[in-house]
């Protein structure tokens, strides 16, 4: 229980092994991205509505970047002037 790993090792392992459990494909991720972001920015639970999205965003760097960008843009657009 006391073994420790360096952050680099953890990063390497995460990259190699990916997320656990079922995840969406890149195509499904893109199809759901707008709905997911709006749910995130509302009171709703996006992971309940779009299962497998969170895991895909953990496993897929490119989709994760697209997600961060869309979220940031929608946030910027809806921010009060």
């Amino acid at each position: 229980m006391s073994e420790r790993r360096t952050p680099d090792d953890l990063e390497l392992l995460r990259n190699l092994l990916g997320p656990e459990g079922p995840e969406l494909s890149c195509e499904q991720c893109f199809a759901e991205l707008d709905r997911y972001v709006e749910l995130e920015l509302s009171e709703a639970d996006p992971d309940l509505a779009v299962p497998g999205m969170r895991a895909h965003l953990e496993g897929c760097g490119a989709c994760a970047e697209d997600h961060r960008s869309l979220r940031a843009l929608v946030e910027a657009e809806t921010a009060p002037e």
Binding site: L17, E43, A62, L70, A72
Partner: protein, 220 residues
């Protein structure tokens, strides 16, 4: 307080989103006007993406970025007009449209960043996995797991799976860039990554090893 058992409300397109769709489908001046306004919106989204990432492309000049923004907006507009039937009103129309512009801009930026770089696909490029002479920073347990993974990458993965996983997961090649070089798509490559990862996880489990970054289970 919202009731936890309540189903999420079914959302249809709001009035503004419906107006967008009607405008974009209209003939004549009205349609042209809607498409021009959408192009402006997409251009703004593409510039937003470029501004977020331009630090990663120090050799590009302002004019290059502007060309790139226009190309991304043009292609996003075409994609959107071809896919209007696919808009189901589950988000605002503008949110739906933005994702196309952001994607077009991001893919172009990643390509630019890797334009003159070699995409490493050679087997020797994954020697980053520690061998017996691993750095002292790696714990004994970490070495065991990584050593087991190194073996699995050699013996359990197909050559294609090995190349793709190593390039993306170890060498940080963007998946779109690799898709271009291998003449395939992001989705197809990710499927390969996913299958390779499953094999590695199975290998670890068979060897009785555990990926300790995950929530602790009662290990016996």
């Amino acid at each position: 307080m919202s009731h936890p058992d309540q189903a999420p409300p079914v959302i249809g397109p709001d009035a503004e989103s419906r107006a967008w769709i009607r405008g974009l489908r209209a003939e004549g001046v009205r349609g042209e006007d809607a498409r021009r306004r959408l192009h402006d919106l997409l251009l703004r989204a593409a510039r937003f993406e470029i501004n977020r990432r331009r630090g990663s492309l120090p050799h590009l000049r302002g004019g290059d970025f502007d060309d790139l923004a226009h190309q991304a907006a043009d292609d996003a507009l075409l994609a959107i007009l071809g896919k209007l039937d696919g808009y189901r009103g589950e988000s605002r129309f503008t949110t739906w449209a933005y994702k196309f512009a952001l994607l077009e801009a991001a893919v172009r930026l990643r390509r630019r960043a890797w334009q003159s770089r070699e995409v490493p696909l050679e087997p020797e490029h994954w020697s980053v996995l520690p061998g017996p002479d691993a750095s002292p920073a790696t714990s004994a347990e970490g070495r065991e797991v990584l050593g087991s993974l190194a073996e699995a990458i050699e013996t359990e993965l197909s050559r294609h799976q090995r190349e793709v996983l190593v390039a993306i997961a170890l060498n940080g090649v963007p998946i779109d860039v690799l898709a271009d070089r291998l003449n395939t798509t992001r989705g197809a490559l990710y499927k390969t990554v996913h299958d390779a990862r499953r094999k590695l996880r199975t290998h670890l489990a068979d060897a009785g090893l555990r990926f300790a970054a995950e929530p602790e289970e009662a290990s016996r």
